[in-house]
Structure formats: structure tokens, C-alpha cells
Amino acid sequence: MRKSQHGMITPTQATILIINYTLSVGILTLPRMAANEVGTPDVWMALLISSLVPLAMAFVIITLNKRYPNQTFYQYSGLIVGKFLGLFIGLVITLFFITDTIFAVRMMAEVVEIYLLEETPITILIVIVLWLSLYLVVGGITSIARVSQIIFPLTILTFVVVALMSLGLFELNHLRPVLGEGIRPIFKIKSMALSTLGVEIILIIQAFMTDQHKAKKVIFLGVLVPTVIYLLTLVMVIGALSIDGIKNLTFPTVILIQSFEFPELFFERYDSVFLIIWTMQIFTTLSISFYLASLGLSQLFNKDIKPFMYGLLPIIFILSMAPKNLYQLSWLGDMIANVAFVLFGIVPCLLLLISFIRGKVQ
């Protein structure tokens, strides 16, 4: 029973898992957040700079992982800082992934509610998605990786098509002036760095990888591909709607897609098509965090993983109903990103330091 949960994934699958985990709500909201923080059309440069943050974090993480091969963070953190502190850090990370699942599932249900199914109660949407997700995660990381491999090309294809279709609305003037307010704005990268986070799951999934020495390539691609896609989104949205036009839009990307028309290509509107693909994308995100949360509980308490998966299901459902509106939900999203920065940026640095000082524990 315990053996079946330890399926392996190839480096390609690990890369795609990271990409899928990273690309989530940010696709819809990043342009607004970036526009509000940076305020000039130079956001795309800020994005490029901000992508260095997850890259640096991931580099620290794989250095740490290298010292404890074939073990997940849940298993080796106790070896570094002692059993109780290790358990505490593990539990916090588990809680983080639970919260992340909650945020993703609620956000998905909200968006589906707004754009696809106005009359269906949100609870039903969440329950259905959670059941599907449970069906996926009981198959272990291999199943999640394979489903991501199905969804990833669809996402890329949709993105390319949407980008090409929005070319008609693109105005280069919206991206000018370059560096009009000096170099200062492009270093306001906080919100962008936070929403391009995602590569941190290498902390745990590296233990499931077949060729662990390829981890560097995995994190590099895992940061590069989402950055390119986010860049495309930013340039597309700002180029069409201008930086001032998107500051007050909840989901600027959807507005962009709603604003072009290609009736000769069968559909009248394309936002629903895009949102369907986006929903699949975020489904993988929430399944990955759901799995990592259950994996954390199972490895911290050294028990079989399945009861935790079933047990988390009602908890995630109840907590996902706690935010009362989209505003509170966005606040939750911001909190998650902040916590992620601490958990996966600072904690691994400290642990790496301690681990160096204490020497390799066998």
C-alpha cells in the first residue's frame, strides 16, 4: 500500500507540474496587480526582474534537497532542526498547501459562476471539483503529472491562439514610454514576484524525480515558461487596454478576450473557451496542492496517505466557503503569496545554513 504512493516522475513531468502549479489565478489577475503596483507601462520589465526571485529561491531549495536525496522536505526537515521543530515546519507547510487548495478551488468556482454558470450554486461546483480532484490525487503524483501533461499543451495552444487573436487590438503606444519615469518603477516587483511563485514545490517533488541531477534544468524551465506566458499576458492586456484601463478591472485578461470578435471562426465570443482551459489549468494547481498537503500529513505522521486525502476533503470544502466575497478571497490570495515567500524563501535558507553547520546527518 505504501509503495503505490511512491510513483516516480520524469524531469519533464516535474517541469510541467511546476509550470502548471505556477500558472493559476495570476493569468487573470496579474495585469491588474502589476498595473496598480508599478503604474507605468514598464511592468513587463519588472516581471522579468521579478522572475529572478523564484529562480533564486528554487536554487537554494535544490541545494538543500541535494544534501538529502530521495527524501521529501517533510521527511528530512526533522533531521536538520530536530523532531519537534521539523514537525512544526512540516505542519505549517501542509497548512499552506491546504490554504492554497482552498484559494484555488474557490477562485475557480467564483470565475465559473461569473462567466459560465450563473444559476448553479457555488457549493455544487466546489463539491464536484473536489471529487474530481480526489479521484486524481488517489492515483498519486504520477497521475497528477500525466494529467498535467494533457492539459499543458492545451494551455499553450490556447495562449498562442488568444495572443494572435488579440493582435488586432494591440497598440504599441500603450507600452510607451519605455522607462518614462526612470528606472525606479521596474523594481516594484513584490506582487509580481509573489504571483510568479510556484517553483517552490520542487522542495517536495524532487524526491519523486527519476533523474535528480537534472533539477537545475527543471527549475530553470519551470520559471522560464510561466514567465514567458505571464509576459505575453501582460503585453497583450496592456497593449490592448492600456495601463490605466486595467487598474480597476477584476479580471483584465477576460475583458481583453471579450473585446475581440472573430465570428467567422465559429464562436461569437471566446472568453468561455479561454475560461474552460483556464479552469483545467487551475484544476491541476489545486490537485497538486491537495496532494502535497495529504502527502505532508501522511509523511509527518508516517501513515497511509489515503485516509488523509478523504479526511481533508470536507475540511477543504468547509474552509473554502469561509471567504464571503471576491475581495476577501483576493486578500487570502495575497496572504498565501506572502507566506509562500517566507516558507519557501527564508526557511530553506535557514535550514541550509543549519544543515551546513551541523554537517551531513545520516
Binding site: 457549493t123 494529467v147 465570428p263 464562436f267 461569437e268 470536507p314
Partner: protein, 537 residues
Amino acid sequence: MPSFETIKSFLPEMYIYGIALITLFVPLVISKLYYLSIKDPSKQSDWVDETSSFLSYDFEENVSLVKEELGDSSDMVLRTFQLGDENLKTALIFLKDIVDIEMINNNILQPLMTDSPYNDLQDYMDQIKNGLLPVSEMYETDCVKTISINMLQGNAVLLFQGTDHAFILKTPKSKTRSLEEPVTETLVRGPRLGFNEDIGENIALLRKAGVNTDLRLISSQVGSRFNKEVVISFVEGIADPTLVESVKRKIQNIMIDNVPESGIIEQLIEDQPLSFFPQVQNTERPDKVIAAMAEGRVAILLDGTPFALIVPVTLSMFLQSPEDYYHRSISATLNRWLRYIAAFLTVFSTPLYIAFVSFHQGLLPTQLAMSIIGAREGMPFSIIIEALIMEVAIEILREAGLRLPKPIGQAVGIVGGLVIGEAAVEAGIVSPATVIVVALSAIASFSLPQYSMSTSLRMIRFLAMFLSASFGLFGVLVFFLFFCIHLVKLNSFNTPYLSPAIPYSTSDWKDLLVRMPIKMMNKRPKFLRPKNSIRKQ
């Protein structure tokens, strides 16, 4: 520190907790039921081989033993005669309808009765062994069980007085039809030869495919009451040895009384009996079997059926036809795409139509939406009922056409199609657009090369229809995700069902969406883990 009131304000209402319980229990119950249903029944202890009796030196007793073993059956012939001056009692026993009587008369009885210089029993038995009887195969045994099995296979048994050994003489006569072109798998180009019901002839067809010293045939028996020969066939040096081992083990583990058709074996060796998808390929075409073995797969042939089984199999193989390789690459690729589109339409055309018409009219081009909605004006049923009526009618037509003799079947198709389609629209029961969409999905399903796969796709379409009627495009999405998850979990003999597409096996993509020119396909499919991967220099 937030106050208690603040925390309390975030707690959801009571009914949420009720739904949470349902959220937990539904999957729990489903998984419990699932594990109960697939659990292997405990090994039955009364499943033991009866201890076999052996022949003795008493001639009369031997004869009656053999007779009793087969229950003194009415088709059993017991020919007793006496040899030589000592009047040695001799008996030839066989089942008259499955032996070659001419061979028994000319090659056994004639030499025995006319030109047998009998003096001494031991000497005589040596003569028989060394060439008195012109019979190609001959064994000696003293086990009554072996004797009876051989008699049932169409062999004759020769018993002598004064010895506890019997001779088994190979005299079977097989009753088969001639080799014909398979009806279910017709091709424009390719060999016009199909398997028939005789395993000997089927093996001959495989052997005749080309001189190959590495073609291995492993024979074993299945069925405890109606024992039959089953042959596992593969190419040594290509097929993965662990695959061959696992096929052998699964065949040996079959404990069933009767195997009338290879479909029974298929269901007993597949990994997921509750899946919608077939996990073993069946075919009547020897060229398909040979091509599969050349890729490193394993074929299973059963006596008494023209359908050979091929394992492992993947989803893409069900959408491919041997003709893809016989035609030139570009036309083969286009045909393959056509089939992929047909498979997509089979499953998704009706559900998407339902979703668009009942939930997302705004997505359709205005003209189209207007005409569809306009045509549905005054229709008595909701769109899902309408689609269901048509789908069920078409399924019934298909089934009826299948059962009836061919000419009548076609008539039923035409009359049914006209009546159901035209009249239902005229009478205002269904809208014309529904008829178009349902007919499209039915025709698409008929264009798929494997019957078992098109049945599966047609089945899951109904699920998709219900989901899309309840949740629109989101329902179609849920359906799609559900089957993505199901398919990535599915394995056929340790080969992922979606390979080579998922997990990515880039070197095998030369033969997935496109069929590259044969000149470029110089490797065998990697996902089948062949021992030797070079197909072409």
C-alpha cells in the same frame, strides 16, 4: 488578536457542514464498493485436480476404465479384434465424429489386421513404435486422464492385452470453414485473409507470414470443464520478456469452467474490469497480429474462435488501422486525423450541442443561434430529452441492423433513418438541428476501425450528455477531466493506456498524430520496451 466574533463571522452556515459530510461520504462509499467489487474471491479449496487412475495389466478392466472416463458416450467407438495365433485381444477406441475415419481404416486397422507378423507381445509393440503404423504422431501412456483428453482431441487409443501401456495415435479431423476476408475489419488495401475457428490453421497463417526463426508459440490449456488450447505467440528478441511472463502467468491463473470465445479471456486478463475502455485488442486479421508482434507485443490465440487478442494496447492503437501503413504517408496521416476527429465528434458533438443550446447561446454566431433557437420554437421537450430520443432511436436501429440478415438490415437502416429523422421533425417532436447532430455523432462512431472502441465511446457519450445538460460547458469540462484522470490511471499490461502521447514519449510521436514515411520510422515504439529497438537501418 482577532476577537471571537470576527472568527465566528467567517464560519459558514450550518447547511455547509451537511454538504461537507456528503462530500466525504459519497467518495468513501464509492471506493468501498469499488474495492468490494474487484476483490478476488478467496481461492476455492475444492478446485483440485482429480487424482487420475492408471492402466493395469487387466485388458477388460482397462477397456472399461477408458469407457467410464468418458461416460460410455454414444459417439464412442470401441473396435475389438484379435491378433495373431494367440488371439491377443486388442481394442481401438475413438470418438467417431472427430477422427479421420479414412486414416483409421487405412493407416491403423489395415496394417494391424492384415500385414502384422505377430509372434511376441514385446516384439510387436516395438514394431508398432518403429513404424508399423503410418501415423505422424504417436505416444505411449498409462494415464487414463491423458487417454481421455487425447480422445477428446480427436486421437485414437490402442489397447493391448497383457500390457499396462496404451498407444495414442494422432488422427484428428478438423472441421473448419474456408479462410475468408474478415467482415468486421475490411480494408481497401491489404491481405484479404482472416483467421478462422481452427487454431491449427491460425498458427499456419502466422507461420506463413514470413520465415522467422524467432516466432515463439507457447501452448497451454484453459477451461476446466471444456478444456481448450490457447497459444501465446510472440517474437523472441523483440518482445519484452517481463511482458511475456506476465501474459503467461495471467493465462495460467485463469480458473474457469468454459472459455467459448477469446472475449472471456480478454475480460479475465484485463487490469480494470470496471473501466469503460477495452484494454485488450481483438482482431481477425493475421497481418495485424504479425505487425503487433513485430512491434514487441504479444498475441493470444484461442481454439474455436477467429478473434486473436493482442496485448498491451493503447488508446491510439484503437484509432489506427493496418491500412495506415500500407498507404503512403500523407494520405495515411490525413485518414488518421479524420479518425481522430471522428472519435472526438462521437463523444463530444451531442454534449457540446446541448451545452451551447441550453446554456451558452451567446457563444454561437448570432445567425446560427437564431436559426437553432427559432427551429426549437414550440418543441414539446427539453433539449436533453430530444437528444436522448434520437440517440436511443439510433442505437436501436444500429442493434436491429446488426441482428437482421444483411439485406434486411440495410432496409431497416434506410426506413428507420427516414422515418425517425424525417417524421420526427415533421411531427414537431425533435428539431432538425438535433437530428443533424445526433446523426453526425452516430456516423462518426461507425467510422472508427475497432468495434470495441466505438462502443466504449458511444457509451460514455451518454454520460457527457447528462453532465452537459446539468452544467453546460462546465459539465463537459468535468466529463473531460474525469476521463483524462481515468485514462491516465489505466494500464494495459503495465503500459500506460495513453502512451505514447502521455507520458511524453517523443521518439514515438512519429507514429501518433502523423504517420511519418516508413523511411523515417526506424525505431520500434519505445513505450512497449522492446528488447531490440532497431526496426530499420
